[in-house]
């Protein structure tokens, strides 16, 4: 029964159905399913979504909707894991992530993938200001910036400069349609990630987190 629900939850993510994902997650938790198992399945579902995007079988807004469905489910699953004292799932590190522009394409997916991979993620939302980034910087090891519009590149550079001036130990990873490796280096970022999977890999490397077997 539980396996059937898990399979349906994974399909709900792939078909970008937030309502169904929420309902199935509630049912799974209600039946006493291990929240770590649910989180792992969500990560599996998101990986499949990423693969479908790479294969051009999903479009970017569909990926975003799938990521939103994952977030809705994780909003129930993560507290359930934490309420067990975090023994089952220790955090790989703390990351804050925000979007420079009004749109959060990419950020939502990266955020959900990071959470699924075992990082504590502080979502800084959209239209990120230097002040909000500065406030967040003291509690995290990495800040991720999603830069979709070229008009936001300078603001990203300003955020990176101000945060690093204040707290040099914070590392920045950036991604999004407006940037590439070269731009990332120019604005002072420590790393550029082409997609959500790469963001997870970078975060692991930055924090020396153990790769999964």
């Amino acid at each position: 029964m539980s396996d059937d629900l898990l399979a349906r939850l994974k399909n709900a993510l792939i078909s970008q159905d937030s309502r169904l994902a929420l309902e199935l997650t509630k049912q799974l938790l209600g039946k006493g399913e291990d929240p770590v198992r649910i989180a792992d399945l969500i990560a599996e579902g998101l990986k499949e979504v990423g693969d479908l995007f790479e294969a051009q079988e999903l479009f970017l807004p569909e990926v975003m909707r799938a990521a939103n469905a994952a977030k809705v489910a994780l909003n129930l699953v993560i507290p359930a894991i934490e309420s067990r004292g975090g023994a089952a799932r220790s955090s790989k590190g703390r990351i804050a992530i925000g979007s420079l522009g009004p749109h959060d394409i990419g950020k939502t997916l990266v955020s959900a993938m990071l959470v699924s991979d075992g990082f504590d993620v502080l979502d800084l939302g959209t239209s990120l200001s230097p002040e909000r980034a500065l406030n967040a910087a003291n509690g995290v090891q990495i800040i991720g910036l999603s830069i979709l519009l070229t008009s936001d590149i300078r603001k990203a550079a300003e955020i990176i400069r101000k945060v690093k001036d204040n707290n040099a130990s914070v590392k920045f990873m950036v991604g999004g349609a407006a940037v590439n490796e070269k731009i990332a280096a120019e604005i002072g970022a420590d790393a550029y990630g082409r997609d959500a999977k790469e963001a997870v890999r970078i975060a692991r490397e930055m924090l020396g987190a153990r790769m999964p077997k």
């Binding site: 009004p102 749109h103 394409i105 239209s127 590149i153 590439n180």
Partner: protein, 299 residues
Amino acid sequence: MMKIKTTVIGSHPVTGSGLEAIEVAVRDQIGAGIEIISDGQTRKDMIAYFADHIPGFELNEGRTIITGKISPPEDTPLVRDLIHAKRISAGASEVKAIITGPVTMAFFSELTPNAPYSGFRDEKLYTDIGEALAVEAEIIGKHGFTTFQFDEPSFSIGAPMTIAKKALEAVAANLKGTKALHVCGNLRRSFQEIVRIEGIDILSFAFKDNPGNFDSVDKKAIEDHGKKIGAGCVSSMENKVEERGAIRQLLDRIFTTYEPENIAWIHPDCGLRALDRAVAVGKLREMVRALREAEAKVK
């Protein structure tokens, strides 16, 4: 040799607000020697520009949301900006109307369950946006504007191209004048479908920050489909004016690869809003000078 015109893709660094910002953008472009200018797109981002008055869209805390059936607007505030730009230009340059394409309007919006569309694969979503934009363009055309550019950056990130082609063709179908399609980014996935879109005269692509496009953009396909190229030759990301020699070098490669007869426009790779104003103007000025030097060499 056909005269190659200099133009911009759209946005300009914002100085001031409202009509004043448009005036600054227009004067900057004319001062740099640009022949086909924009109004600077100084008011809003490329989605909100249209979503703020097309029924079916709503703006909420900076997000664009599709909440109902998308239908044509009765009027467009764009006309006011374009007329202002034309007045400031006083005939020194032509003013181009820039319209965000149906797929990009959809992709950068949130689709709510209340909207009568089943998802981002629902053809009706793009048809409805296309019909709304067709009316938008028609209103602009009635005010005497004859050069149009549709922006579809979403084409380079994966888009439903069969549906996109139909929607864009519907927007362009009854429009009189020169019609261009701008797609920034890497065209590896989409060029072969983009070049088949009917009713579009000029295909505008980025070559400076996407040199891989030399491999994707096929000269024969351009000629076979009766298109001309708009070639991006200065960066819209790097906040530094390129050396004229470097722009010349890129132009030489563009001319050698595609032949000058197939080039209608040269322009920056994308909008310049993110740059310092002095840098943006410097890039435009050097681009214009580099083209004139390159043309003189070809002659």
